[in-house]
């Protein structure tokens, strides 16, 4: 078998291919890189990102994580559509209601399409607490794409189509309500907007600051490098929570929600950039030693060209990994900050704000569903970490085949 035929063949059986390579080497006296076995033109012509994507796809948990995150962000973007209540709506008739049970068996008719019973409450004669009971005399079908509370879709137009709901006057609280009668599921969906985006925005700010500082530090070296590194060390040695407390205390209490949001992100990025700066610096220093950087320099490339054409493309993938791993840290930080009452406050809603309402042992023991917002936090953080793992494995597609 000639080499020419060998290279044009279709990918196939591995061991067979290996034999063929050896035969080809014997035939033509040419050593063939074993990496090339079973690989065709689409591999040879694939650029960095294509190779990364292929390697990433082989990481199953990372792939699933990306899907989960995609779903979360999709829901967050269309939060109004996926909730039954608006951000500021409440229903004082149904405070601290437990999660509504969706049923398919009616006590009279037997099997039915999913429906919920009506909800009434009675007072516990001793504790005077409301006890919710199902009113089996009325049943409301659970409908998808149904009419509900009107809202403005992205502030563009008025609509009342919601993803799910029951006919009036029925109520469906998938995860129960809080002490003001707000539907917890709706609030979680609304909270996802802030919780998921604050990580992103925070990371973008950290990224810009971190890349600039890291690049300066790594490229110029010397005294500049030493100064920046010492600053980073000082920043990193601050205990985070007291630092945040101090910074949050500086925020005026009656600021509009949007402003608070941005200030909180900046506070979070305050420490976040240091990690990214370290990564960028390390990458710059290690790449400065690469032969192909030397080759470009010897070819006459200016510093700007070397950075633009060789160094930045070289560390973009690593930066992506760092960003993916930094987002969950931001999300956790926001959650803790809001949980401590230092971050956002009602009516702004984030997962941390929701958890803050579950702070007392009494609330948790009486209304355990208030703890449910922990679940999306855990899932998101895990998904980001798994995705970051997968990306890290894929970030350097040129080592190991």
């Amino acid at each position: 078998m000639s080499l020419r035929r060998f290279f044009s063949r279709q990918p196939g059986n591995d061991s067979q291919a290996h034999d063929e390579i050896e035969q080809a080497v014997l035939d033509e006296g040419i050593a063939v890189d074993p990496l090339m076995k079973t690989l065709g033109d689409d591999y040879y012509l694939a650029g960095q990102w294509t190779l990364m994507w292929r390697k990433f796809k082989r990481h199953r948990i990372a792939r699933v994580s990306i899907l989960v995150l995609g779903a979360f962000y999709f829901i967050a973007i269309f939060a109004n559509f996926f909730s039954v209540q608006g951000l500021r709506s409440y229903d004082s008739r149904f405070t601290n209601a437990p999660p509504t049970r969706i049923r398919i068996i009616h006590h009279e008719d037997g099997l039915r399409l999913p429906f919920v019973y009506g909800l009434t409450f009675e007072r516990d004669p001793e504790t005077m607490r409301r006890r919710y009971v199902a009113d089996e005399s009325v049943a409301y079908r659970v409908r998808l794409f149904t009419r509900g509370e009107p809202y403005r879709f992205w502030g563009l137009f008025e609509t009342d189509i919601r993803f799910y709901g029951v006919d009036d006057p029925g109520r469906i609280f998938l995860l129960g309500t809080d002490s003001m009668g707000r539907d917890l599921f709706s609030r979680m969906v609304h909270g996802a907007r802030i919780s998921l985006s604050i990580g992103m925005v925070g990371v973008i700010i950290s990224l810009v600051v971190g890349t600039i500082m890291g690049a300066i530090s790594g490229y110029f070296g010397g005294t500049v490098d030493t100064i920046i590194q010492r600053i980073i060390e000082v920043l990193r040695s601050f205990p985070e929570i007291p630092l945040w407390m101090g910074l949050s205390a500086a925020l005026p209490p009656n600021m509009p929600i949007v402003q608070t949001y941005f200030l909180i992100t900046i506070i979070l990025s305050f420490i976040g950039w240091t990690g990214l700066a370290r990564v960028v610096r390390g990458k710059f220093i290690s790449m400065r030693e690469e032969d192909y950087i030397m080759a470009a320099k010897v070819s006459g490339a200016s510093d700007a060209r070397v950075i633009r054409k060789h160094m930045i493309p070289g560390f973009m993938s690593y930066l992506l990994v760092e960003v993916t791993l930094a987002v969950p840290r931001m999300i956790l930080a926001e959650t803790s900050l809001s949980f401590l009452g230092l971050g956002l406050r009602s009516p702004a809603t984030s997962w941390g704000v929701l958890l803050q309402e579950a702070q007392s042992i009494q609330a948790i023991s009486l209304y355990p569903w208030l703890l449910v917002p922990v679940i999306p936090v855990i899932v998101t953080v895990l998904a980001f970490n798994f995705a970051g793992d997968g990306l890290r494995d894929a970030a350097d597609p040129y080592h190991e085949g």
Binding site: A31, D33, G47, D291, Y292, M294, V298, P313, G314, Y398
Partner: protein, 361 residues
């Protein structure tokens, strides 16, 4: 051959500062290259040999200004007869000169940017120096050089990861030659390759030298490679040239004890030959604190008192030989017997090279 030198290196030094402590104070210098002087003549191949850490790679990189020399001059003669000292030149004035001296790197895996296609890698020097005025001209030039080094044109769109070591080295050679340089520094250009591929790349380099009137400085630690390709050889020890001589003369009759020791390590497949491998005593001294007098004296079997005190200059002897040893005329050193056929590196015939270029990427 003895025309005006193409490259004149005088007293070239490269010191790497050793920094210590919290304030990064300089506590000493590693003298990687310490006062090196030599000439390179047009059309020749100067081999640069020595053991690991002797400074030969640093010297090569200084000459192409990949790293900044600490001191000394590197004078390059341009085709129009004018000379230019590139040692102390500011980078922005140096940049236009760079097309005249290029480099082929040791490791074909790290010397090509994995994120660029082969076409872009070869085209980069042309783009930097704006040698091609149109995209079409650029393409023609890249394709020309690619076929000269034996790359298939349809593979120019591929990325380096699609190629084996030998093929990558061809890409590296194409990149070095695309600006039509006068001087090419090959830094261990074949040492990372399989032995069978080494011969092909060496032959390619020889072929290119003949075709394009190239001058090579060939850095290597493998003496048989140097014997095959170099016209003259400079032997380096601890940052200095200890002997410089035409290849044949050096191999047959070394004048410096270090050259002798180095040559005795060359394997020769001659069963009748008695193996008299000279073993050097001791370690390579620390280049930040070299021995007094002759730097080789602690390991030299012929060392006398004067070697410990007086530094031997690199002096010229007959036949264009230079040596830095007090006793070069007195001691009788053994070289290696001539072996006409290359022992384990059978050079391919021209037809084989041709066939190879046609068949292979």
């Amino acid at each position: 051959m003895r025309s005006e030198p193409l490259l004149t290196v005088r007293n070239l030094k490269k010191y790497f500062p050793i920094r210590k402590g919290f304030l990064n104070r300089v506590v000493g210098n590693v003298r990687a290259v310490d006062s090196v002087s030599f000439d390179v003549y047009p059309g020749e191949t100067l081999g640069l040999v020595g053991e690991s850490g002797c400074g030969k790679t640093t010297l090569g990189r200084c000459i192409v200004r990949g790293i900044e020399p600490t001191e000394g001059s590197i004078v390059l003669r341009k085709p129009d007869g004018t000379t230019v000292d590139i040692a102390g030149m500011e980078e922005r004035y140096l940049r236009p000169q760079r097309r005249a001296f290029q480099m082929v790197f040791q490791d074909p895996y790290s010397s090509l940017d994995p994120r660029m296609s082969v076409f872009d890698i070869i085209a980069e020097p042309l783009r930097i120096h704006r040698i091609a005025s149109t995209e079409k001209e650029l393409e023609t030039k890249v394709k020309d050089i690619a076929s000269v080094v034996g790359l298939k044109l349809e593979h120019l769109k591929r990325y380096p990861h699609a190629f084996s070591g030998g093929q990558r080295q061809r890409i590296g050679i194409a990149r070095a030659l695309v600006t039509n340089p006068e001087l090419v520094i090959a830094d261990e250009a074949v040492s990372a390759l399989d032995v069978s591929i080494q011969a092909q790349v060496l032959n390619l380099l020889k072929q290119l030298q003949a075709d394009f009137d190239l001058t090579y400085i060939f850095v290597a630690h493998d003496l048989s490679v140097v014997e095959y390709i170099a016209d003259r050889v400079a032997v380096m020890y601890l940052g200095q040239i200890v002997e410089l001589a035409p290849t044949d003369e050096l191999f047959r009759k070394p004048l410096h004890p270090y050259s002798e020791a180095l040559l005795s390590s060359v394997p020769r497949p001659d069963p009748s030959r008695k193996r008299s491998k000279l073993r050097l005593a001791g370690e390579v001294p620390n280049p930040s604190n070299p021995p007094s007098g002759c730097r080789f004296h602690p390991r030299c079997p012929y060392a006398k008192d004067v070697c410990r005190q007086t530094i031997p200059e690199l002096r010229s002897l007959k036949n264009g030989r230079q040596v830095a040893c007090h006793f070069a005329e007195e001691i009788d050193l053994v070289g290696v017997p001539e072996v006409r056929t290359e022992p384990y590196r059978v050079p391919l015939s021209d037809s084989a090279v041709k066939e190879f270029s046609e068949n292979k990427v």
